[in-house]
Structures are given as C-alpha cells and as structure tokens.
C-alpha cells in the first residue's frame, strides 16, 4: 500500500536530510588535521543561511518573472464594454431590463 505523505512531512524529510548533510560537512571540516580556512568555515557554518538567502532570491526572481511575463490584455476591457452595451440593447429590446427597473 502506497504511503501518501503530507506536505509538511515531505518538507520535514528534506529538512532532516539537509541538516544531516550540514552537520556531516561541519564535522568533516573540523576533523581535518589542519585548521580550516576562514572562508571554508564561513561557507559551511553559515550554509543554512546561504540556503535561505538562495531560496529568497529564487522566490523573488520567480515573482518578478511572473509579474513581467503575466500578459496584460488592456484591449479586452474596451471590447467587453462594447459587448456589454450591445447586450444591454438586446435586453432592452427583449423587455428584460424594463421588467425590473424602477
């Protein structure tokens, strides 16, 4: 029987996996015989922060792309207004508008 995971469970699994990789990377860095370089410490120790920053950049980029690519059909409004005017004429002709207007 296939187990269906809830979204938070899937995120938790990814979170635990990434946390394990991070902890292992830190451990590997610290267990080197030579003291780790400052840049390497920054890169590894702050990896979760870099991850959040990258995710934020990706999110902002996605929104920006979506806003730019979202098609704005400015002309449709005018076309609809015209259509509505024609429909109202027809409704008037059928007597529908007069039936409920005060």
């Amino acid at each position: 029987m296939m187990v269906v995971l809830l979204r938070w469970q899937i995120f938790s699994i990814y979170g635990v996996a990434l946390l394990s990789i991070w902890l292992a990377a830190r451990q590997a860095l610290l267990s080197q015989s030579d003291p780790p370089q400052f840049a390497a410490r920054i890169a590894v120790d702050l990896a979760p922060l870099w991850g959040v920053v990258l995710l934020g950049i990706y999110g902002i980029g996605s929104v920006a792309y979506g806003v730019i690519a979202l098609r704005d059909h400015k002309e449709v409004s005018g076309v609809l207004e015209q259509e509505v005017a024609e429909v109202k004429k027809e409704l008037q002709r059928l007597g529908i508008l007069d039936a409920y207007q005060k």
Binding site: G66, R71, S77, L80, V87, E90
Partner: protein, 247 residues
C-alpha cells in the same frame, strides 16, 4: 449532457442579466443543454428580483434560483447550489461579475470531451488559468502592479508549499467539473476566501482526479470594489498553512 452553471450572487443587479444573456448565447451557439443556478444571498440591491425576471423570460428549466437569508459564504453557496438545485452532469463554477467571459466554456468542454475516450488521462476538472505564461491567450486585464505582485507572490508561495502538479492558477474560480468530482470534494473544503478555490484543486489532486489548465483572460471587476484587502491576505495565508499541514 446537461451543464449546470452555478452563479453565486451578491449585489449583481447590473451584471446578472448580462452574464445570463452571454451564457445563453454561448450554449445556444454550441447546441448545449444548460441550466443556470443563481444562488443569491439576500442582495440588498434587488438581485433576486432581477433573477426572477430572468427566470420568467428564459424559463424555470434554464434559470433556477436559490435564495438564501444572508451572506453565508461562497463555499456553502456552491454546495447548496450543487446539492439542492443543480441537475447537470457537469458543473461550471464562475463569477457573475463579468470577470470570467463565457466564451471560454466551449474550449473547456472540448478538453473534457477529448479526454473522455482516453481512460488513462480522463480530465475531471478543467481550470481556467491566468498564469499560463507561455500562452498568449492567458492573462489579466485591469490589474495594477501592486495587484500583480500580490497575486503572483501568492501563487509562487502556494506552488512551493503545495506543489500542485500541472495547476498554474490555484486561486482561479472559473472551472468546469465533472459532477462526481465536485460532489466528492466540495463537502470536505474548509478554507474560506481565496484559499477556498485552492483547497478544491489540492484535494482533487490528492484524490487522484485529473486537472487540466486552459488559458483565460481575467477581467478585473467593472462594477465593484477590489476584494484583495489585508483580511483576504491573512485568510489566504491561514488557508495555505492549513493545506500545508493537512494535505
């Protein structure tokens, strides 16, 4: 095959006769049987009277009216319209304020019909999408930059948290459903506001229903005020969190 269009209304006195006329034209042109189920929540502007006038003109077989005592929510309007009144085998949900043009309905039906012969890919829900960015026929009209950013931001967040495969517009409310799909899902929906539409699609996917997008242009309301205030945003985020933890 009878198509039921469920139209919840609140203060749609101006728009209702226009949308009904347009729907009648579209269905007649394509030789389709239809009924329009108007669910009115005691509109103070006399929408019910307009609905009754339309029913006299088009007939009770084509215009059904469910009058409710007050604003009881969109979800319950759909549910009551579906369970108490509608008779169609396929259900169309759309807005009554002309933001959804009926001209897209035949295309939605074509997609559903074309899939009927293919049992592996039978489409149960066709969803009108404003965000099929590759399609020139998808988009919006009348949104300012702030609205676009808010809407796209909400969509990106929902896509990331919920991963609705193949659904580009989770909060859209212009859809064609097979009746059995909507009957199964709608009673389970708990969210309100924009998240309501999102929950329907997410639950449908979890149930194994097949959803396909079709490009539409959403026209911002001609006669009403904007519905996207801080309250709606908070409701949406609460709904999103609810779906994240429960689906």
């Amino acid at each position: 095959m009878l198509y039921s269009v469920i139209l919840p209304t609140y203060n749609e006195r101006e728009n209702l006769p226009i949308i009904v006329f347009m729907l009648d034209q579209v269905f007649a042109k394509h030789n389709l049987q239809y009924e329009i189920v108007i669910v009115d929540d005691n509109s103070p502007d006399g929408t019910l009277q307009v609905a009754q006038t339309l029913q006299k003109h088009y007939g009770k077989e084509k215009i059904a009216i469910l009058s409710r005592p007050g604003k009881l929510g969109l979800g319950s309007a759909y549910l009551e319209g579906l369970q108490k009144v509608s008779k169609g085998q396929r259900i169309i949900i759309m807005d009554a304020d002309l933001s959804h043009h009926p001209k897209y309905i035949p295309q939605m039906i074509r997609i559903m019909d074309a899939s009927s012969s293919n049992h592996n890919k039978k489409v149960d829900i066709v969803s009108g999408s404003r965000y099929l960015l590759q399609s020139p026929e998808s988009g919006v009209c009348g949104w300012d930059l702030k609205r676009k950013i808010t809407s796209r931001g909400a969509n990106v967040l929902a896509q990331f948290l919920l991963n609705p495969r193949g659904c580009t517009d989770l909060t859209g409310s212009f859809r064609l459903y097979e009746r059995h799909a909507l009957e199964k899902i709608l009673p389970r929906v708990q969210c309100t506001g924009y998240a309501f539409q999102m929950e329907i699609l997410v639950l449908a996917q979890r149930e194994g229903y097949c959803i396909q997008d079709v490009p539409i242009v959403f026209i911002d309301r001609m006669y009403g005020e904007s519905k996207l205030g801080p309250r709606e945003i908070v409701l949406y985020l609460k709904g999103l969190l609810h779906l994240f933890f429960h689906t």
